[in-house]
Symmetry: C2
Subunit: 220 residues, 2 copies
DNA sequence: CTATAATGTGACCTGCTAGTCATATGACCT
DNA sequence: AGGTCATATGACTAGCAGGTCACATTATAG
């Protein structure tokens, strides 16, 4: 938490500092953010910065708490349309409200999610070519599946690619991170438990994809 | 690409260098990797490093190409069990083969995917508490849905949480990255096209989740 | 053996970082 | 007025980064 001196500041000055910090984190993430640049861009001195905060992590944690609070307020102001919703309707409503919030505070959200979720899987600058290969291969797979009659021809190919790509990456990340905790990673991957878990994940994806659109059209 | 001098090296020395680089990237990612440390850990001099490579990005690109090549070979050696597979069966087979490959070359894969996909959404060290809140909320949502009879009671709660969490993050990342390209992000988020895209994504997820396990049991 | 080319080396440069601290400013109280 | 305390400052330290370069070593050819 920031020190008391920070909260004693006139609110205008506080906001200038927060603004500079948000821009810095949005652009550079947490590790590569520079206190020097934050200080420059907010027009305070180096010494003052350390009189307000412990370090840059302290600033970030404060941002996180501010965003959390504002999001709570945002959600409370916009009660769900109907009191007795299906859980999935409720989840859908939450996602939509979240999107609205994100687009209302884009830089703030970007700063936080850049740190929490990384640079974003789909938009790394340098590796666009490399990623293009993957998405193209997936795209061809889907098109083939449509030709074979395995997938509804009205399916949005681009969307299906995003679904499959997301799951490929999520599973890969899961295997690496969870697997590194095991003493024998190969054995763990081949174990019935792990295989079943992955099968279920893929089944959820597959079952959703097989007949998306025509069902979707009916249900909406 | 590395310079010719690198390829002239005895293969043992080359592998030592590659090994050190893999470890460095796996631990620190690309931006925070240190050439000094790579040099120390591989027992070569600073000057030599720059006689072999342009810079650390050059090393990484080489790693990427090596991994790509080895993965190709790995997949070619293990032909799919049956020639005439359903596309989803094929995708499932590919994911499984990918898992096998990852667990056979864990550090190498980790190094590359740490750079391409970020630190991994689910395993960032510092924000475990923060993320726990989200997963707990989702967990309660699923349990409630089961009690209400909206979701099959045999559903694996932990798995459903992972599905919902993955999509929450994927959508959030998509909105932020794609939205920042628009001149009016709020308008873009509210547009029929964007809303429909998100609806379809959520529908794929929902339709897959609603009746996962009992169907899964039948089909496997 | 000598001459030439290729490879190896680490001290050194510049530029950045996080964080400190002696000093200066100004507000408020007696 | 003098005294006290919170706040503001930026030069400074120590450390690490990427990258260079004059020189040392080794291999190859004549």
């Amino acid at each position: 938490m920031p020190k008391q001196t920070f909260f004693n500041l006139p609110s205008e000055k506080r906001e200038t500092i927060i603004h500079a910090a948000v821009e810095e984190f949005a652009q550079y993430g947490l590790e590569n953010a520079s206190t020097n640049r934050i200080v420059e861009n907010s027009g305070i001195s180096k010494g003052s910065f350390y009189q307000y905060f412990e370090d840059k992590q302290d600033v970030f944690m404060y941002l996180l708490s501010v965003l959390e609070r504002e999001k709570m307020e945002y959600f409370q102001d916009r009660h769900p349309p109907s009191g007795n919703m299906d859980t999935f309707e409720y989840f859908r409503w939450m996602i939509k409200a979240g999107m609205e919030f994100n687009s209302a505070y884009p830089r703030m959200t970007q700063a936080v999610s850049r740190v929490l979720l990384g640079e974003g899987l789909y938009y790394g600058k340098n590796f666009a070519d490399y990623r293009a290969k993957t998405t193209q291969a997936l795209s061809m797979m889907i098109q083939q599946a449509i030709e074979r009659g395995e997938v509804d021809p009205s399916v949005d190919v681009e969307l299906a690619v995003m679904v499959m790509d997301t799951w490929t990456n999520a599973i890969s990340t899961y295997i690496l991170n969870e697997g590194m905790k095991q003493k024998d990673i190969v054995r763990w991957v081949r174990s019935a438990r792990t295989q079943e878990k992955i099968d279920k994940l893929l089944y959820v994806m597959e079952y959703g994809l097989r007949k998306t659109e025509s069902q979707f059209m009916k249900s909406s």
